[in-house]
Amino acid sequence: MAEQDEDSLIGYDPLAWMHRSDFNQDSRKAEVGESEVDSSTELASSTETASNLEIDLDQAPADASEPYASQGERAVLVLEPVLNIQNVSVLHQHLMQMLSNFEAIDIDASGVTMIDTANLQLLLILKQTAIGLQKSISIDFPSDKFIEASELLGIAEMLEVDQAASGFF
């Protein structure tokens, strides 16, 4: 992860995920072992299966001639409409598992009508964990309620919740 040049002025490279997820998909096992995934967030791990959360691999677009159009291993997680303390551990478990299996996770927050502080904090912690692993978690299409809740908690910016891609597709 560290730059090879000892003398470099650049520490953590925020663009590293581009190479990892798009340019050489095979290297993903190389550096980041699953054990590195930090589950110290103290959110109890539950054995329930989260059958209500969908995971599917994003389909690569037909025209993948440009590096941008090609998708590496991404997973999409669609959030439930109501996220409260009851589902936080299931969501936690699920996201940790996805984080160890995929380079990038797109969280579709378009259907969220209620989200509590615990769930928002979980998303924030996971996002930071992902950065540490040079992976990415992004929140797509956040609903107005999701945006409002994350702004209230003052973490909208850290979660990179923005409206560029929200509600258009």
């Binding site: 470099s8 002025l9 650049i10 490279d13 925020p14 663009l15 995920w17 581009m18 190479h19 994003d58 677009p61 037909a62 025209d63 001639s65 440009e66 941008y68 159009a69 998708q71 797109d106 990415s136 992004s138 797509d140 107005d144 990179e160 923005d162 409206q163 560029a164 891609a165 509600g167 258009f168 597709f169």
Partner: protein
């Protein structure tokens, strides 16, 4: 012939979007290309930089909100260069919440219309990532990203690339994508290091000429002049002319 639509885009503020839009389009116009440049930022800095200062004058706002044609709102500001100002109501677009995908598609539909004869339409985007930027991304064929050479700019670029990828996969077409080093300080070591990181991820996608940071470039907007008028022949004027040639010929670092 249809114009190439270029969005000058970076959600980070102050990176040189407007300076690039003003001086690159004027350089291209001087090289004989026909250009329309749209001030797509409610702050109206582009129009001011080109010497158009009436804040009440309508522009792209009326095109998007009332369906007036682009041609009707185009003002010739230099030879071969037309300007469409932002207009006082452009901010209303940013506030639109209804209309689903349609509110993102207003600009694209406005530009579809007809017998246009320009070679390029440039869109100077605001420093945000809301409805206006979505409109620019729906409309654009190409994205030109001005980049400063500091560390936090890399962080911003990472986020921007993520957004662009989402649009590409949703619209099912790749953009032509290039970067321009817009406020380059060659004497700083961090500048070179940031540049080399960018080169690693965007090989063949950084325009060959880096625009250096100079006092003259910071001065000319207040006079409503491009660098070619403010100080013809100066280093920055030469940088922008070289950049225009890079842009036309696809000359990359």
């Amino acid at each position: 012939m249809s114009a190439r639509i270029v969005a000058v885009l970076n959600q980070k503020g102050g990176v040189g979007k407007t300076t690039t839009s003003v001086n690159l389009t004027h350089a291209l116009a001087k090289l004989g290309k026909k250009i329309t440049v749209i001030d797509f930022d409610p702050q109206s800095h582009l129009a001011v930089s080109l010497g158009s200062v009436d804040p009440q004058k309508s522009g792209i706002d009326k095109v998007l909100l009332e369906g007036v044609s682009l041609a009707e709102q185009s003002i010739p500001v230099r030879k071969n260069l037309n300007l469409v100002v932002a207009g006082p109501r452009l901010q209303e677009i940013e506030q639109l919440t209804d209309g689903g995908a349609r509110r993102g598609d207003l600009l694209r539909r406005a530009l579809l219309d007809g017998n246009r004869d320009e070679d390029f339409i440039f869109i100077d985007c605001p420093p945000s990532s809301g409805v206006l930027v979505a409109n620019a991304l729906f409309a654009a064929d190409e994205i030109l990203v001005p980049m400063t050479s500091d560390y936090l700019a890399l962080q911003g670029l990472s986020h921007l690339v993520g957004t662009i990828k989402k649009f590409e996969s949703a619209l099912k077409r790749p953009y032509k994508f290039s970067l321009v080093m817009s406020r380059y300080i060659p004497t700083r070591r961090i500048s070179k290091e940031v540049l080399s990181v960018i080169q690693k991820y965007f090989p063949g996608q950084i325009l060959a000429t880096a625009i250096r940071e100079t006092a003259l470039l910071a001065e000319c907007p207040s006079f409503g002049k491009t660098i070619f008028e403010y100080r013809p022949g100066c280093r920055s004027a030469r940088d922008f002319m070289a950049l225009a040639e890079d842009f036309l010929q696809g000359r990359m670092m």
